[in-house]
């Protein structure tokens, strides 16, 4: 499956989370004998998961196309003391196996990192293969940490963090090749703490996943027009870094959230809840999939259509200014 690439003129260094994340898992499996890799018919010959399967057949469990069993198996191994990664197509994993993610992983409170690939509208497979509910579902599960890295390298860092401090976690990855937001890894990263990728005075765009890249592109455009935009990389949707949000409200007065997810229940909702409960008043807009089963296509047509590419974001900022 060839990776999809964005039509961008700058920041075009790409990274494939579906390669870099398993690569990191592979690397850690060499050092830590308690790491178990559970997958759902995703070891394409020659791919990294396939190499893991060859190198560690005893610690790699391919359960076939069976998301519920995938998660239950990973949780069983974790109950027995292992640190488990359970990976499958996000559209199915996040809703078909919700019961197992909720009860076997979160309720049992065990060391399972559930990895859902093909996040948001990145799959190109149409509504059955879009993942637009995972943030909402995982946010509502107690004990669960929901993370949506802004680029592939950040995804690999999260794998590292999970192994250091295992806990019930859902890691959402995009489909294939996506732009690398960060040129290097020399930036502070902590689960639950937003990264201020760009300082700004006039408005704040809070992005998660690919939303960060789109927000940065919009901020670059607007800078040419003299508008100063702060961009937060809210990789951790739960627990939300409320402090960073409130600071942005106080200092910029405008908040726009950007997520490749239904605007109901995800990052935008989390931020809106915080604003409402803290009586913070600001101009506010959620950008993302507008509660529809999205149309057919790839992100290069879908993001503009639904208004959360850089043009849509910039347009919304201008409307508020």
């Amino acid at each position: 499956m060839a990776g999809f690439t964005f039509n961008v003129e700058e920041m075009t260094v790409m990274g494939n989370a579906r390669e870099l994340v398993p690569k990191k898992i592979f690397e850690l499996m060499k050092q830590d004998k308690d790491i178990v890799y559970v997958l759902s018919d995703s070891a394409v010959t020659g791919s990294i998961p396939w190499k893991i399967l060859q190198a560690y057949p005893d610690r790699t469990i391919d359960v076939g196309i069976a998301e519920s069993n995938l998660v239950g198996t990973a949780a069983g191994a974790a109950l027995a003391g292992k640190k488990a990664f359970a990976t499958a197509f996000g559209p199915f994993l996040s809703i078909r196996a919700t019961d197992q993610i909720c009860l076997d992983v979160a309720y049992n409170d065990v060391a399972v990192c559930v990895i859902g690939t093909h996040g948001g509208l990145t799959s190109g497979g149409g509504p059955t293969h879009y993942t637009i509910m995972d943030y909402a579902v995982m946010r509502a599960i107690p004990n669960m940490t929901m993370i949506s890295p802004s680029d592939a390298n950040q995804g690999a860092r999260i794998v590292d963090e999970f192994v250091k401090n295992p806990r019930p976690m859902y890691l959402r990855l995009a489909r294939g090749e996506e732009p690398l937001v960060y040129a290097d890894q020399d930036y502070p990263f902590q689960i639950g703490k937003a990264v201020v990728t760009r300082e700004g005075r006039d408005a704040t765009v809070i992005g998660t996943g690919i939303g960060v890249y789109n927000a940065l592109k919009a901020a670059q455009e607007l800078e040419r027009e003299g508008v100063s935009i702060r961009v937060l990389d809210m990789h951790t949707i739960k627990p939300l870094d409320g402090e960073a949000v409130l600071k942005a409200v106080k200092e910029t007065g405008i908040i726009i959230t950007v997520e490749d997810h239904n605007i109901i229940g995800g990052l935008g909702s989390a931020v809106a809840e915080l604003l409402a409960e803290t009586n913070m008043s600001c101009k506010f807009k959620r950008l993302g999939v507008p509660d529809v089963f999205a149309k057919l296509g790839y992100p290069d047509t879908l993001y503009p259509y639904y208004g959360y590419d850089e043009v849509g974001i910039a347009k919304q900022i201008k409307a508020f200014l």
Binding site: V36, V38, D58, R59, I61, V63, G64, A66, S68, N69, V71, G72, T73, A74, A75, G76, A77, A78, L79, A80, G81, K82, A84, D99, Q100, L103, D104, Y107, N108, D109
Partner: protein, 288 residues
């Protein structure tokens, strides 16, 4: 040919009778409880915990213990009463804390409060995947413990079980023993009237499991089946074992036997006395 240890059979029958009585009293004390299912699976569970499982009640987190996953989590009260009998907590604690805000004992088991449970369960169709994951972890560690998993027959309506059934067979988990409490009643109706399951033996055989079918309310047959299990060897690849344990829901108490309504119920003092005396009569008949 296995020679059945008749003394062991009698000892376990006696214990099963005692635990059934404890269940009846428990139900009376807490007001309302799942009863039919716990009563159908009492015999096999008693045989496991009091004899066949590698288990130390004084050290329930012993790393070398056999694991026990209760797929049918709503039957947790059976284990609560067994663990109470084993001295892990008192009857006062059990009755007093049942479904209380700060209590440890709910309708379904939570290992956060009761770490002697190998998994928190309750939603049906989860147990076998958890057991399979446990068994895989045991194989990775070359550990010599076995994983027992008890599921209800109605629970097998849940499709996730069959995903796990295929996985366990594919990976040839010889250290996994599934026990299906085949009491032929699910939550509301007889299984053959809702979603027919017969023949479970043929189904599991077709899925490449080693199938043993017994009368699960006959201690001699339980002892024979469990004695015949090969030594636990997590590394050896062989068929996983399923014991289709043909039982009667509400076993031992005439007015509950094979009655769907006794899936869950209450016993006032009068009904409790009647149930206890019926259990004595059942025992005298020879627990058959």
């Amino acid at each position: 040919m296995i020679t059945i240890d008749t003394q062991l059979v009698s000892k376990l029958e006696e214990k099963a009778l005692q635990i059934r009585k404890e269940l009846v009293v428990y139900c009376n004390k807490i007001g309302n409880s799942h009863l039919g299912g716990p009563l159908s699976m009492t015999d096999v569970t008693v045989a496991l915990f009091y004899h066949f499982m590698r288990y130390d009640p004084n050290n329930y987190s012993w790393p070398e213990r056999d694991r026990f996953i209760l797929g049918k989590g709503h039957c947790a009260c059976l284990l609560y009463n067994i663990f109470t009998d084993m001295g892990m907590f008192s009857k006062e604690e059990l009755y007093g804390e049942y479904n209380k805000l700060d209590g440890r004992f709910g309708q379904h088991p939570n290992r956060k409060y009761l770490p002697m449970f190998d998994a928190s369960t309750g939603s049906l169709g989860h147990g076998l995947s958890l057991a399979f994951g446990y068994a895989m972890a045991g194989r990775m560690d070359k550990a010599n413990w076995r994983v027992y998993c008890v599921v209800g027959d109605g629970e097998l309506d849940e499709g996730s079980n069959w995903e796990a059934v295929m996985s366990a067979a594919h990976y040839q988990m010889g250290n996994l023993v599934l026990i299906v409490d085949r009491n032929r009643i699910s939550g509301c109706r007889h299984t053959e009237d809702t979603i027919a399951l017969d023949s479970l033996e043929k189904k599991f055989d077709a899925f490449n499991w080693h199938v043993i079918s017994i009368d699960g309310n006959n201690m001699a047959q339980i002892v024979e089946a469990l004695s015949a299990l090969p030594e636990s060897d997590p590394v050896a690849r062989r068929k996983p074992v399923v014991i289709v344990s043909n039982t009667v829901k509400g076993k031992g108490i005439d007015f509950m036997e094979d009655q769907p309504k006794w899936h869950l119920g209450g016993l006032d003092d009068e009904k409790m006395a009647e149930a206890l005396s019926l259990l004595d009569a059942y025992s005298k008949r020879g627990a058959k």
